[in-house]
Homo-oligomer: 202 residues x 4
Amino acid sequence: MSKLFFRYGAMNSGKSTALLQVAHNYEERGQSVVVVKPALDTKGHNQIVSRLGVNRTADILLAAGQDLRGKVEELRQNRASSQSALACVLIDEAQFLEPAQVDAALEIAVLDDLPVVAFGIRTDFRRRAFPGSLRLLEVAHSLEEMKTICRCGEKAIFNARLGESGMTHEGHQIMIDAPGVTYEALCAHCYLEYEQRHSLSL
Amino acid sequence: MSKLFFRYGAMNSGKSTALLQVAHNYEERGQSVVVVKPALDTKGHNQIVSRLGVNRTADILLAAGQDLRGKVEELRQNRASSQSALACVLIDEAQFLEPAQVDAALEIAVLDDLPVVAFGIRTDFRRRAFPGSLRLLEVAHSLEEMKTICRCGEKAIFNARLGESGMTHEGHQIMIDAPGVTYEALCAHCYLEYEQRHSLSL
Amino acid sequence: MSKLFFRYGAMNSGKSTALLQVAHNYEERGQSVVVVKPALDTKGHNQIVSRLGVNRTADILLAAGQDLRGKVEELRQNRASSQSALACVLIDEAQFLEPAQVDAALEIAVLDDLPVVAFGIRTDFRRRAFPGSLRLLEVAHSLEEMKTICRCGEKAIFNARLGESGMTHEGHQIMIDAPGVTYEALCAHCYLEYEQRHSLSL
Amino acid sequence: MSKLFFRYGAMNSGKSTALLQVAHNYEERGQSVVVVKPALDTKGHNQIVSRLGVNRTADILLAAGQDLRGKVEELRQNRASSQSALACVLIDEAQFLEPAQVDAALEIAVLDDLPVVAFGIRTDFRRRAFPGSLRLLEVAHSLEEMKTICRCGEKAIFNARLGESGMTHEGHQIMIDAPGVTYEALCAHCYLEYEQRHSLSL
């Protein structure tokens, strides 16, 4: 029986680089992988983009309501006739999966015996899990942290949204490439302190 | 800065034993701990009960709406005059905490610099996180799995509710010591297969 | 394929309790375990003794030069006719295994498909691995830390030997129940500082 | 107090990529790192070379007998006057460190309060720890596995040396870029089976 792994981390912890490395490791072995990206992540279109400067095109750009298990099975059969059998499913920005798509990922691992490694952000700028992350935190076989650091040197675990006048709790859960909006990965102490200084509350 | 740890596992993975061991390790060192149990867990009243046969009385039986941080601070000041300073907060059955109580646990670690170790079940019999577990999965510094095994020998990650005619998805999220209701920790494969055999769906 | 796990920790990190809990988890499931203890550990004779107050008799008291794989196989066949099949091998004080016995443990996992969980101390009072620990650190599938704390509250990772005039680097690697000799688990900082204060060097 | 981390893995598990990602994460934050490479690794001279195609020049090419702590302290003082303070020491191919250099790495973390992350291979082609790996396995605060896969799909944990007629146990521990010699990361099962087929023993 294969497993569903959730490698979670704050923003800029190197998740896409790690995904590209796993893909590379399989392909060096003559095995092939399927790389999935939720269409909800509009940044980079169908590209997996690592901040280290390495890129790759996703095999599946998964839209809302689409059947992940069916799409992977289709690719699996296509590749069965090629020289490199499908050995692993890799999902970037997995926080943007729908809960039912995470359930499909679990079925791919458990019922179709194909390991699935999902990389994603744990929580949004208000420290609430994204729908995809929440379901992964509930059902993944293994929760593995990708570490990065806060400005203070501690491990960053939260993501602050920064507007024009500092930290904000306003706006939609997902705002990508919105003008005047940036994000910063912070440790719990810097996040809570920043929140108090801005008199923010949920 | 201290940390909030969430040690999660399926039922019967030895969480209470592990908690009692941590308490023992501190006390051997001449340091003291606070042991917390949510009052929602009616089993064993104010006792932490390990299936290995070791027991201990909780220092705080935490009711709904109660302020965890205030209660710990009170105990901390009481002990400041004794010989063994308060060094750690240990929470049993942490899935039964309210989300705000988990936020208080994070503040105890981050703002009051006292490590907090919360032991709890990840998901209920429908594979949904308990409110306390969900918040811990979102904000804990470290997610650490306590392992146990399924009847088939694989790692158990889910908890099935067994009624009189087998696996069921019926009933309240929390049913402790209800007549005719038992639980079994299962691996993902046995859980999904069992579910299909009983034609259950959520 | 099963795996060989090495759960290592400083002294008094709760290794024996954890072993007894794993045994309990299997037995609750109607599966049986083999508990192994190296005869080199003369403390408690053939008993696994947890500081929490739980005890159990070892199934195999393994002497120097003895064939672990053969002994486990023998027990496995004996139990095949009973109602509870052998499902796991648990080793206490695994730092006292001979390297060849660790190699046998790996073969039990990999070739005989029986999971082996070895609990042991990582390093001796001079911060050198014990022969059994060294081999486990080299070949185990998974290295999992059992945590405990230093007198200062940090994680303890080393074990100091304390003689009559404080920390010492003198004496045999193994001295159990020797008069005037005690041990203390320390963090790296307290260990190095203690060492300098006593002008000790290796 | 900072920590010494040992991120170990079989060959081709992406250790250099991971090191370059950590360096990038710090530098994005306006903090600087020191990248160390043992001179014993003659491949790529003073370059850290990732198989994903990213490179970087090492700040310290550490020769036998050299004082790692002194060299890092020198760089630290140089950077103190620049805008980006030294925040982390990263060591590639750490299996090639001398044991005393690993002890120096621990002192940098514990006494100089600078985190050290060492990336390296756990064992050689005969499944014996390299001198640097052995010392890291003994004294690192945290042992973290970098995973890669075997040709069979299982997790690879050993490294086989392949000569002209298959697996071999002959030759020096370190043979880099030797004609006719290649390496393959294998799982324990494939390694042991391969060994038996070639009637190899140590």
